[in-house]
């Protein structure tokens, strides 16, 4: 088998592989930087919670459309995700519960309701699709939705970059100068939900945060400045997507989990080899004079 057969032919021969690759590129450009900001805001687990919150909406979309329509499920997921984010925000402002505690409660409720809805009406195959994604079944409509979300995300990140960065490290300053921190936070949460909807189409609700948080973690191991982190997260997310697709094609594995495993392999290698990783602890380099 030539390198061409191994690495390029699958995408030349099959439209679904090309669409899957473009979906991965979009997710890398949008979801990975969002994940980096999430973890910089120390909200990594919030992304996970929100991704489960998307499920009941997707399930209802699936019921209404009567089939596995990614668009209907995407819209349903968007509504459910935003509702949970809003509710959790409101509850944390009105009660003694911190935002993460109220998130945890809401996403558990959402996940249970979602699985119930799917299992009531759908077959087990459908449940698996919703939970683990259908990246190889992404049609043109779904691709348009994902592409739109990615474009919006990049635009929003470019416009909001400065207040978002300041809100991450010095929210008090932003408040003092009248920088509308709560608005920035709200828009950011909106982007998180949008990108979860985009990546759940491809990777399923259980894996949706995978391409968001793993590249973000990898980026932090290698880079010390935010722009470098953002760039590394995009590149590793895309490389994982490409490698995962190739592996799932040749080895006939489910594509979503394979992509996440590819990212996980990069993560483990980085844990050991990155400048701030495990190996640096055991390599002694002479200290400097000044």
């Amino acid at each position: 088998m030539s390198a061409y057969d191994l690495l390029i032919a699958p995408f030349m021969d099959y439209g679904f592989m090309r669409r899957a690759l473009i979906a991965c590129l979009c997710l890398a450009l949008g979801a990975a930087p969002i994940g980096t900001f999430l973890s910089m805001r120390r909200m990594s687990l919030m992304g996970d919670a929100l991704s489960h919150a998307v499920l009941p909406g997707a399930a209802i979309g699936y019921l209404v459309a009567g089939s596995l329509s990614l668009t209907a499920m995407g819209i349903g997921g968007l509504i459910a995700g935003l509702s949970v984010a809003l509710l959790a925000g409101v509850v944390s402002r009105m009660t003694v519960l911190q935002e993460d505690a109220s998130f945890a409660s809401f996403y558990l409720i959402s996940l249970a309701v979602g699985v119930l809805i799917v299992s009531l009406r759908g077959s087990n195959i459908d449940l698996l699709h919703v939970l683990f994604g259908t990246i190889l079944a992404i049609d043109n409509d779904a691709l348009m939705l994902i592409g739109t979300i990615t474009s919006l995300t990049l635009l929003a990140l470019a416009v909001l970059y400065r207040p978002l960065v300041i809100d991450c490290f010095d929210p008090g300053f932003l408040r003092a100068v009248g920088g509308r921190g709560p608005l920035i936070h709200g828009l950011f949460m909106l982007m998180v939900v949008l990108n979860l909807v985009a990546s759940f189409q491809a990777l399923g609700t259980l894996m949706a945060v995978g391409l968001m948080m793993l590249p973000a973690a990898i980026a932090q191991l290698w880079a010390r400045t935010l722009p470098a982190m953002l760039a590394i997260s995009v590149v590793t997310a895309f490389v994982s997507g490409y490698a995962g697709l190739i592996a799932s094609y040749h080895l006939e594995l489910a594509s979503g989990p394979t992509i996440i495993v590819a990212a996980a392999i990069i993560y483990v290698v980085s844990l050991v080899a990155a400048p701030s990783g495990l190996m640096s602890r055991y390599i002694r380099r002479p200290h400097l004079a000044n």
């Binding site: 120390r42 008090g172 408040r175 935010l226």
Partner: protein, 246 residues
């Protein structure tokens, strides 16, 4: 005299209905340099947060000549995530917010000003260092450099020299005096009475109630300080409703 920079009118600020600042009136003249003194828990930080608009008065009012958004403010325990990967120079440059806002460009002129501010606080060559790698004193100098860049007409400092070595403190006091010389209104919470007497013409002594507000040598007397200590230690969980008429 012209209109004051900030006037407090019978200001009361409470937490769960307990007053932390109680019926305080008075004003800060434009261009004045005022120390705020008082024991721990006297309500100094509460007073400053109310002036910044972070806490709403339970009673009374605060009149400001310019919006508190244009104040430079250094909180006592700044809620800053030091592990965030941002450099010293980028932190200082955020001080250009008033001119650049959320979207405006930050050109070479602002970067130049930021570098000069770093030189002024003795952090030349620290531009590219991540803030997480600084010592507490170096970080405090960074925040002062940002205040320099903010170019605010009112500057509010809450215990700016706590846990700072004497050399750094002296450098930072020089900056405070320079601001005073430039006609800015400066307010600083200080615990070192010597510093207050040496550098601050005006003092506001508070222990929940206002003990005194005026020229430092009239306020920082032995009797006043003793009264402040005694007042601050008073605390009644089941205090009755305050009877002072609004």
């Amino acid at each position: 005299m012209n209109a004051p920079a900030i006037a407090l009118e019978n200001l009361t600020v409470t937490y769960n209905r307990h007053p932390a600042v109680h019926h305080v009136s008075g004003s800060l003249a434009r261009g004045s340099l005022t120390a705020i003194a008082g024991p721990n828990g006297a309500g100094k930080s509460t007073l400053l947060r109310a002036i910044m608009g972070e806490l709403k008065p339970a009673e009374g009012a605060i009149r400001r000549a310019v919006s508190s958004r244009d104040y430079g403010y250094l909180p006592q325990a700044a809620d800053i995530n030091r592990r965030f990967p941002v450099s010293v120079i980028d932190t200082v440059v955020t001080g250009a917010w008033k001119r650049a806002g959320a979207f405006g460009g930050i050109g070479r002129a602002e970067r130049q000003k930021a570098s000069e501010a770093l030189v002024a606080v003795g952090l030349e060559g620290f531009e590219a260092r991540p803030i997480g790698s600084l010592s507490a004193g170096q970080f405090q100098r960074t925040l002062f450099a940002r205040l320099l860049l903010q170019d605010a007409s009112v500057i509010i400092l809450d215990e700016p020299f706590t846990a700072i070595d004497s050399r750094t403190t002296q450098d930072l006091i020089d900056i405070v005096l320079r601001w005073h010389g430039e006609g800015r209104t400066v307010v600083a919470v200080l615990h070192d009475h010597e510093q207050v007497r040496a550098h601050f013409p005006q003092t506001l002594l508070i222990a929940r109630e206002l003990i005194g507000w005026g020229p430092t040598h009239e306020i920082m007397t032995h009797d006043n300080l003793k009264r402040a200590r005694a007042l601050a230690e008073r605390w009644d969980e089941n205090a009755p409703v305050c009877a002072v008429p609004a």
